[in-house]
Subunit: 219 residues, 2 copies
DNA sequence: CTTATATTCAAGAACTCTCTTGAATGAACG
DNA sequence: CGTTCATTCAAGAGAGTTCTTGAATATAAG
């Protein structure tokens, strides 16, 4: 019984781990970390079919990682708690350490990343105060509207090249996006450097900012 | 490419999550959190067959959660890093929150647990200093020998009833075992209370103690 | 060199997961 | 109250996981 109960307990935890055990579901979780979203919105963001998105969301809900709530005609999903962000961060920590050793694609990714040193939140706050820095949020506009770092200007990555003139030439540019797994800010920094700007990435995206207890701005 | 690379990255993280996605593998990880062990030792502790234990360990090694090293005739496995403990703790945090809602067995487990308030590490250290407390390690002797909290006395759960007289009657008893998922200390506390002792559980087992940077004693 | 010991590999049966397709539900709106 | 829209359910093909069994390695010891 003690042994059986223990395995039952482990089985429950294993179910949660299996909930995270699919690339598309991690993608969905990252999008949900930006804020609550309908199934339709998630299907559009991830490129999955409607039914498939729904099934993945139900898998996540079954193990308690997300909560789905009917709101009129739509069902809106959100992360079930901040500990889900912590769990994803812990997974990332193990993954980044292991990446070098095994996965080439991934280690390329992280090598590129190491080359661009990230700016900690505290440093950003300080420089924002001094007015020495332009902070840009390179996520799509709808995610910016839902929540963003105070003082950030929204220039989605897709529009960045065309809107370079909106960024004051002298100041340092700091870019952020959805979080540590998100490529948008990396690409933004690469593009900005190509254009001769002094650009760096913020060390963490909006979910990490919020998780750190820092204020966010809406609309 | 950006999208493909991102999914490759997520797939790598998902592989790690799937590594945790099996009750037996979580069991193996908990045992490895006590210290490195051979395949044979793990098979004995978990009750799995030899070949099955080996296969699960290889699954864990493939995703970088454990490291296996040939040492003479044996292959000795250990956790690949402290971040694996953090990952397990994060998984537990989500699981405990979700437990009430879904798994009855598990919620029973956690209810029983809530009834016995756990003693934080800091409190233990203070009371140990005052000599007001008897600390017992209820894990099997081999795990105690590998590492234990300084000042603890080893009385494996199986022997506890027979060795009650080794515990000074007046003082409070604090028991610990393998960690938050381990039932040994729960059962020890229940048994001690039945015997009229003032017993409580330590809030965390040996892996958590070590992870907190506190000193351990060997042999 | 042979044997014993510890571990891994290989193959197969039973089961689970994933994605697709098309039908079914549930709420809102005319 | 019938239609529309967003979502879920159901069934099935294909792939992956798990456990068992027995054979294959690799090291150590005689």
């Amino acid at each position: 019984m003690a042994l059986g109960a223990k395995l039952d307990l482990f089985a429950a935890f294993a179910d949660i781990a299996r909930g995270l055990g699919n690339a598309h579901r991690l993608d969905l979780l990252e999008h949900l970390a930006q804020g609550e979203k309908s199934v339709e919105a998630l299907a559009a963001k991830t490129g999955l079919t409607f039914a498939n998105t729904s099934q993945h969301l139900q898998a996540l809900r079954r193990v308690g990682l997300v909560i789905g709530e009917r709101r009129g005609k739509q069902v809106v999903y959100r992360l079930s708690g901040d500990d889900v962000l912590d769990l994803m961060a812990a997974l990332r920590a193990v993954g980044e350490r292991h990446a070098d050793a095994v996965q080439t694609v991934v280690s390329d990714y992280f090598e590129a990343r190491d080359a661009l040193e990230a700016v900690p939140f505290a440093t950003l706050e300080q420089r924002m105060g001094d007015g020495l820095v332009t902070l840009i949020d390179v996520r799509p506009a709808d995610e910016f509207v839902a929540a963003h770092v105070p003082g950030a200007r929204n220039i989605p990555l897709a529009e960045l090249r065309a809107r370079l003139d909106e960024i004051p030439p002298g100041a340092e540019v700091i870019a952020y996006c959805r979080g540590p797994w998100c490529v948008l800010a990396f690409e933004a920094v690469a593009l900005l450097r190509e254009a001769g700007r002094d650009a760096r990435r913020l060390d963490g995206g909006l979910p990490e900012w919020r998780r750190a207890g820092l204020p966010v701005e809406v609309a």
